[in-house]
Amino acid sequence: MKLELHGIIKSFLSEGKPQRALDGVTFVSEFPHVLALIGPSGGGKSTLLRILAGLTAPDSGEVRIDGALLPTSERELRATRSRLGVVFQSFNLFPHMTALANVMLPLVRVHGMPETEAKERALQIMERLGLADHAGKYPLQLSGGQSQRVAIARALAPKPRLLLFDEPTSALDPEMTAEVLALIAELRESHTPMILVTHEIGFARRIADRIAFLAEGRVLEERLAGDFFSSPGTEEARRFLAKVLAY
């Protein structure tokens, strides 16, 4: 998987004044399995992930995923989104559908798969993720960890070319965090490349091939994970690591 970003700028209005969330993000990253985006809060990680997911278009700059330019029109972006899988911090399952129906929805409505085939595929994936007993349950009947696994199954079912995780364990307690992280580590071997925004620095260190460090709206460095942690190249990264790894 090759990701190329050039001069990404994205501003938001905050209290009437435009605020730059991303201030010229430029980097190239080639990774076999996992790229982790880390950095201090408010550094623009989630905004960058939303752009990569095609959920919002940058004000300027361009993104290439495996050489293909990310479109800017909503219609083309929709096609792009259908080929990516996104997992959110707060799961965002549809509460009025069973877990199985949640996983089947994109297969049937977006990818035009017949019901029976979609059901088969969904059940197969849910079984693989240890959700076989929960297919008929509604999201309110699931624990946080189970909900996030259903969300992962929903993102994974259409066989996306890239999986994006936006702080997937931030809303979970430690036990469930472990459960979801174990699953993500397992997915690493499934040949679907992943981009991971996370606060779990230890986990990023263990699972990521490469690290992109974001602070103040820019990617300050993009390096092999081992190198980044043993000898960070910028003062900001050094300070960030010293702070988060202190305890």
């Binding site: 997911a53 959920l55 929709r78 096609a79 989104r81 259908s82 080929r83 990516l84 996104v86 959110f88 707060s90 965002n92 399952l93 549809f94 509460p95 009025h96 929805l105 994109p106 409505r109 977006v110 509604y138 999201p139 309110l140 009947q141 929903r154 993102a155 259409p158």
Partner: protein, 263 residues
């Protein structure tokens, strides 16, 4: 079971459903007895009154049937109209949004009676709409649609933005997002007020009698002028409308149970 549970809801101990039904029936019987005592000595119901009205039962029956037709068609039309107005209110196209605001405020701010008279005698006549039944149904739908649109809008806005985000992320089109994600959740939220509005619509159809549509209320008026038995002519209306509105609220309660996500 103990006696207290018969009168008081107690936390942690579910009240059997028949207790509620018992109280409902008891109060109904008490009400009927009260009516009997109060009216028994009055001179309002004179001898032969009910017999005189009973002769006209076919008039009531025909009127009641027409009210069912008018209400059913208006119910469907007003729901469509209300949904469209609610979506326009959220449209990024500003003139459409203003159109929706104008519609809702004008209709909700003026009496239905005035709307019926104006729209029928002025507007329908000038566009060549002769059929008073069709005109009546359209006017009623227009009226009820304005109220429904605000309820539907409130329901849509109560669905968290993260749901829309998630629907976009899996590649649903905006229409699919409404159809499969937003509306089912919104509907569940607004079912109780929606049922109330539908009951209102059924009763509001009685005002169409003023443009000479032979529905249930006009039937009662006709029976009254033929028999001079006012109360005996109008009391059957209460029963007839109740027979239509009660199923609406029962149906809504059943739907509410079915749509409960925890189920």
């Amino acid at each position: 079971m103990n006696v207290a549970a018969f009168f008081l809801e107690q936390p942690g101990r579910p009240t059997p459903p028949w207790v509620g039904r018992f109280w409902l029936c008891l109060l109904f019987v008490l009400l009927a007895l009260l009516c009997n005592v109060v009216l028994g000595g009055s001179a309002v119901f004179t001898a032969g009154g009910w017999e005189a009205v009973w002769k006209f039962r076919a008039v009531f029956w025909k009127g009641w049937q027409l009210t069912i037709v008018i209400s059913t068609v208006s119910l469907v039309l007003s729901f469509l109209l209300g949904s469209v107005a609610a979506l326009l209110r959220r449209s990024p196209i500003l003139p459409l949004r203003s159109l929706s605001v104008l519609y809702v405020e004008l209709i909700r701010g003026t009496p239905l009676l005035t709307q019926i008279l104006f729209l029928y005698y002025a507007v329908a006549a000038s566009v060549g709409l002769q059929n008073r039944l069709v005109a009546g149904v359209l006017i009623l739908s227009l009226f009820s649609g304005a109220y429904l649109s605000e309820m539907i809008r409130a329901g849509i806005e109560a669905v968290p933005a993260s749901q829309r985000e998630s629907a976009r992320a899996i590649g649903l089109t905006p229409w699919q997002c409404y159809r499969f994600v937003i509306l089912p959740q919104a509907l569940r939220q607004i079912l109780p007020p929606l049922a109330g509005q539908f009951a209102s619509l059924i009763k509001d159809s009685s005002l169409l009698s003023i443009i000479g549509i032979g529905e249930f209320t006009l039937a009662a008026q006709q029976v009254n002028s033929a028999t001079y038995r006012t109360l005996e002519s109008y009391l059957p209306l209460a029963l007839g409308y109740l027979l239509l509105t009660l199923p609406v609220s029962l149906l809504s309660k059943a739907l509410e149970r079915r749509l409960r996500h925890e189920a």
